[in-house]
Structure formats: C-alpha cells, structure tokens
Symmetry: C2
Subunit: 144 residues, 2 copies
DNA sequence: TTTCATGTTTGTAATCATTACAAATTAAAT
DNA sequence: ATTTAATTTGTAATGATTACAAACATGAAA
C-alpha cells in the first residue's frame, strides 16, 4: 500500500484513507468496474464509505490522469487504471469489456492533432461478440 | 423526399410520416444532433410529434443500421447518419463534435476480429481543443 | 362499408446513473 | 487548544432514457 500512496502524491492528490482504498481496488480489479461495483465491494471493508465519495474520488482521479473513463455501454461509466494506451472491446452478448492491443498510430500519441484540432485523449473501442461467447455458440450448435 | 423513402424501404422499415421527417432532418443536419435537438426542431413543423417517437425511431434506425449512436459527451447520445466510416473529435471547450477522416486499418473493416473477438462495430474518437477554439485562444493572447 | 388485426404514435409515469448541496467529520496549521 | 481548510457523507434534485398503456392509423378480409 506504500507505492500506491506515492502514486497519489506524485499526481498531487492528498492520499486519504478512502482514496487509497479505491485506488487499491482499481489496481486489483482490472475488469473496468462500475461505481456501483466499486462501492458494493468497498462498503463491506469500509462501512462508512459513501457512494458520493466514490463518485468524487473517481472524478478527481480522472482529472489528475490517474484513471480513464470508459463510456461504451451507454448505461454507466466504467473505469480503467491500465496506463498503457490500448483499445477496448465490448461484447454485446455478455457485456464484458476486454482490453485489446492494437497497432494504432494514434493510441501511442504519435500524432498531436487531426484536421487542425489538438488531440488530448484518444479513445478506440470495438463492439461485437467475444471469443468466449463465440465458442459457446459453436458448442450449442454442435450439441443440437 | 422520394429517395429517402426508398432508403427506409431498402432496410425493411415502413416509411411512416414521422420516420421520414426524422430521417430527412438527420440528412440535413450532419452536426450529430441530440434527441432534444431533433425533437425541438420537428415539433414546430409536425406539432403532434412526440419525444417518445423520436426515441423509438432513432432506436429503430440504429438497429437497422441507418444511423449510428455516438456516446462521447457522457450526458446524452448523439446521432450520426454519415455512412462512410470515420472517427470523431469532441472539443472539450465548445462541445462541438467534428467528423475526422483517419487512416485507420479498422475503420474500413479490413479486420474482422481482434484477439479472437468478432468485430461488428468500430468506434474511434478524440478529445481535445478544436481548431476554432485554438485560434480564439491565440487571438486573446495577442490582444492582451 | 364494416370488422378485425396489426403496427405506430403519443403522453405520462417510472427508472437509474449522476450531480448538487449542505451538514458532519477529519486533518492541518497557527 | 483553536481556528481554518479540506474531505467525507447522506439526502435531495436533475435529466436522459425507458416502460407502459391508451389512442390512432393502416390495410386486409368478409
């Protein structure tokens, strides 16, 4: 929990207890959790934790570039602490979001502008059917 | 309004009056309008138009691949009828969404899969400061 | 024309993630 | 110890979207 504290201080964020808990959770759960999911888990360990604090903290982390917001599903924001630039894949069937590595000339910030606009963030994602759901489909067909 | 009717029939959508109005509006306003924006404009011409109809119609169009949903801003869905695959740029200052052409090996569906997942949709967007807002910034600095 | 069935439109009410806000609590500084 | 500022917390408000059921239109069959 030491290096996590340093991570916040580096970015100019006062490392309070709830902030450390949330950051630790994010590091341990790289499955792009929701606010609801983070809160539900943490409130067991830290009974005083409030959902507003989770919202506040995630906004702060996002502003200070500790995490990234992922807006794909349409219903709620997901959060991602994986710092390496990468894209995402949302399965339309099971709803899981995968990290995918893609050789994209924009992902690694080679370009700083498009059509004269200054790029600050790059977001790329795919929608479709994930590997797991595909094999499930195939097995069902064979079974018939 | 004839070819617009054909466009719907081709995709297996019964071309009702309100659907034609909405489709026509989308063709005439390529600035990625919101449900609110579409409704406000149309209700003047078609006083019986209901917001629910706009929602229903846009969902139908989206399902039948007449339009695409754009989820960037975080507050509301924007709609796009530009069929050529392209990416988007959201200006953090003025909130405008631009179309940008980008040589992306995924945008034109060269690849049908990543990491074993079947790709059905490709979404790419940038956030930053747009050309217009950049020059405005510069002019203000000079004026000082 | 009338009847019936189906699909479409409409308005209202409900949902649900997120934000606003102010009181309570904690930490830091003098 | 006292004051000040920052953080946390719970509740209430917001706002986009969806659920639902009644009203309406359409077109086929009798």
């Amino acid at each position: 929990m030491k290096h996590i504290k340093g991570e916040l201080e580096q970015k100019g964020i006062k490392p309070t207890y709830q902030r450390l808990c949330i950051l630790e959770y994010l590091h341990a759960h790289l499955v792009h959790p929701t606010v609801e999911g983070i809160y539900d888990e943490l409130v067991d360990r830290v009974p005083t934790m409030s959902k507003t604090t989770v919202y506040n903290t995630l906004r702060l982390f996002s502003e200070k570039d500790v995490i990234n917001e992922i807006r794909i599903t349409g219903t709620e924001v997901r959060y991602d602490i994986n710092c390496q630039s990468h894209h995402h894949f949302l399965c339309k069937k099971c709803g899981k979001i995968y990290d995918v590595d893609v050789t994209c000339p924009f992902a690694n910030m080679e370009h700083k502008e498009v059509s004269g606009h200054e790029i600050q963030e790059v977001h790329g994602y795919f929608k479709g059917i994930c590997k797991e759901c595909l094999t499930k489909q195939n097995n069902e067909q064979k079974g018939r």
